[in-house]
């Protein structure tokens, strides 16, 4: 515990933290992300309705506009959908799924990509060329298309979306880490570690890994936003998450069917929430990129 406190106080004294609380976009991004974190953690307890418990839905309440429009009620702040579902409640539950997918897929991509990048950079040779050729081929395809094809082969499901996103997401870590590993491998401290007879595994994990992590922070931050957008696109096309637990993208799809009858709020609000969270993540990512890039200092 005290080790954690020591780390925290060291971070608080760092230049990064100093700039963080003074940079407008860093503050805005952090606030948006924290607000979303609070919303998905405590939101479901605050909204009266569980939108996916059919017994709690009342068809008499269907198609209610947002509270500030004529015919809206305070009970349904952002209106209701075709089945009398509270749009706000759907968004809160949907954000949970969108954020969970974005974050989990990022962690999985980071883990797999970093491992492969370390191996490729440290050992080189055939393993290196194999991994990098796969990465090259994948990069020549846009991620959305690759993910779309994978999902069309897998069928819908949260775990399948995670697999599809991870299959397109690992490449960027593998390439970044491989580059840094190649550079670090030649440094004196690695040679010293070799001379003192440490095992390769120990050199990679304890000596090289901590020194290649910094550039990944930016990549990982931005990637959560990208993944949220790709997941939304897949779900919008009907090949993402299943209808029983819709993400924000699937909520937009459901609202699209009734958009032409003028019922805009069912699809517009979920989209606004996607935009807001991805914008917050990108603001923070931009700040981190400027801060952590040694060339700009």
């Amino acid at each position: 515990m005290s080790a954690l406190a020591a780390r925290l106080s060291r971070f608080a004294a760092s230049e990064l933290a100093h700039n963080w609380v003074r940079n407008a976009s860093a503050i805005a991004g952090t606030i948006i992300i924290l607000a979303f974190a609070l919303m998905v953690s405590f939101g479901p307890m605050l909204v009266a309705q569980d939108p996916y418990d059919v017994r709690q839905l009342d068809l008499m309440d269907a198609f209610k506009p947002p509270a500030w429009l004529e015919g809206g009620t305070a009970q349904y702040l952002l209106g209701t959908d075709q089945q009398g579902r509270d749009v706000l409640a759907s968004i809160i539950h949907g954000s949970r799924i969108s954020l969970f997918i974005g974050f989990t897929a990022m962690l999985a991509s980071c883990l797999i990509g970093t491992t492969l990048g370390l191996l490729a950079g440290f050992y080189g040779g055939r393993l290196d060329s194999l991994i990098m050729r796969i990465a090259d081929i994948q990069l020549s395809f846009p991620s959305v298309l690759t993910a779309l094809f994978l999902m069309s082969a897998f069928g819908t499901g949260v775990e399948k979306v995670l697999i599809a996103l991870t299959s397109v997401g690992w490449v960027v870590y593998a390439r970044t880490v491989r580059g840094s590993t190649l550079r670090e491998k030649g440094r004196e401290y690695v040679q010293a570690a070799r001379v003192s007879g440490l095992s390769n595994a120990r050199i990679i994990l304890r000596h090289i890994l901590p020194n290649v992590l910094t550039p990944l922070i930016v990549v990982a931050t931005i990637q959560v936003g990208t993944f949220i957008l790709i997941e939304a696109s897949l779900s919008f096309l009907g090949v993402g998450v299943p209808i029983t637990r819709p993400s924000l993208g699937l909520l937009i799809k459901n609202g699209f069917d009734v958009l032409f009858s003028g019922l805009w709020w069912i699809s517009v609000f979920p989209g606004l929430f996607i935009m807001l969270i991805v914008f917050g993540i990108n603001l923070l990512g931009d700040f981190l990129r400027d801060e952590l890039n040694p060339r700009l200092k």
Binding site: I137, P142, L148, G238, S267, V278, N282
Partner: protein, 321 residues
């Protein structure tokens, strides 16, 4: 130079071959296409017969060999739904996609270049910061959602533009285009705007960053010192050099536009290859999915090849080994 070209050409074919293997493996996972072909009340015997005709009773290796030799000859099979050669279906719909992709790219370039140059030349102005925040919003919003908002505002409420479909087309060199008539052009506007926003935002950020980099160079200081007009310095000396790295992202941009065209076309019921792909995925129309994949892979590999060669020609600093 010739050696480099040959090496890149061989690489191209290796990539396409790998893609064909991946496509084949993936398609083998997606279930048995026999049931798409036979009537619902088919007997066991009829199903067996259909499997034999399709060659599905043979080993995967034999099946792959047949698949490969067919596509090399340009035979991608017939669509299960349309009963037409799958390649022909793609080719019929290609002009529609190219039309919105190129219009979107043109719009993105025309708007992003001046804004990016401005923001790069005056990075600390309030208006530049607003532009950058705006471009970050452009990167952050789901493009298909923007399309829906545009439909709602401009088609449903204001009724300025049609909400879906392609409108009248006319034939140019055997391909059907809709930009030739006013009605057709109106149909083009909303899909193209929707598609261009993401690219526009990214492009503006790249141009700004490149301009900031270039404007620090000595030759810019020299141009300013000899008293060249500001606009001349920015566009002639600055932008010209800032645009060179942009060529390398051209391939990526085109790829993203074609990928996002699947969503845009779905929303606007635009009859291009993207909508064909999505429809074929719903219907399990395997030959069409395969031909789309191979065609798009071919397109990307070709564009990247051209981009690499063009880059080597344009930038004398790059030595070809």
């Amino acid at each position: 130079m010739l050696g480099y070209l040959i090496k890149r050409l061989i690489q191209m074919f290796v990539v396409l071959w790998v893609v064909s293997v991946l496509v084949f493996v993936m398609m083998s996972f997606t279930g048995d296409p026999t049931y798409m072909m036979v009537p619902l009340d088919a007997t066991e015997e009829q199903i067996e017969n259909a499997r034999r005709i399709l060659g599905l009773d043979q080993s995967h290796l034999v099946q792959y060999w047949r698949f490969l030799s067919n596509i090399v000859q340009g035979d991608f099979g017939r669509s299960f739904v349309f009963r037409q050669p799958a390649l022909q279906l793609i080719m019929e719909r290609l002009p529609a996609t190219l039309e919105i992709v190129f219009l979107a790219m043109a719009m993105a370039l025309v708007i992003a270049i001046p804004l990016g140059v401005y923001a790069g030349a005056n990075p600390n102005r309030w208006s530049s910061r607003a532009l950058m925040a705006g471009s970050l919003v452009g990167v952050s919003l789901p493009g298909f959602w923007l399309g829906m908002v545009l439909i709602f505002v401009f088609a449903v409420k204001l009724q300025m533009f049609p909400s879906s479909g392609r409108g009248p087309t006319s034939e140019i060199m055997g391909m059907r285009f809709s930009f030739t008539s006013w009605q057709g052009f109106l149909h083009l506007v909303l899909p193209a705007v929707t598609l261009s926003i993401g690219t526009l935002a990214i492009l503006m950020r790249i141009i700004r960053a490149e301009m900031m980099e270039v404007l620090k160079q000595d030759y810019i200081k020299f141009a300013r010192a000899k008293g060249a007009a500001n606009r001349f310095v920015l566009f002639k000396h600055g932008l010209k050099n800032a645009l060179i790295p942009l060529i390398t992202v051209f391939g990526l941009m085109l790829g993203d536009l074609i990928a996002f065209a699947t969503l845009t076309e779905t929303i606007f019921a635009w009859p291009g290859i993207g909508k064909l792909l999505v429809d074929s995925i719903y219907r399990g129309d395997r030959p069409v999915i395969v031909v789309y994949l191979m065609f798009v892979a071919f397109l990307f590999v070709l564009v990247n090849f051209i981009v690499d060669v063009a880059y080597a020609f344009i930038d004398p600093r790059i030595k070809i080994k």
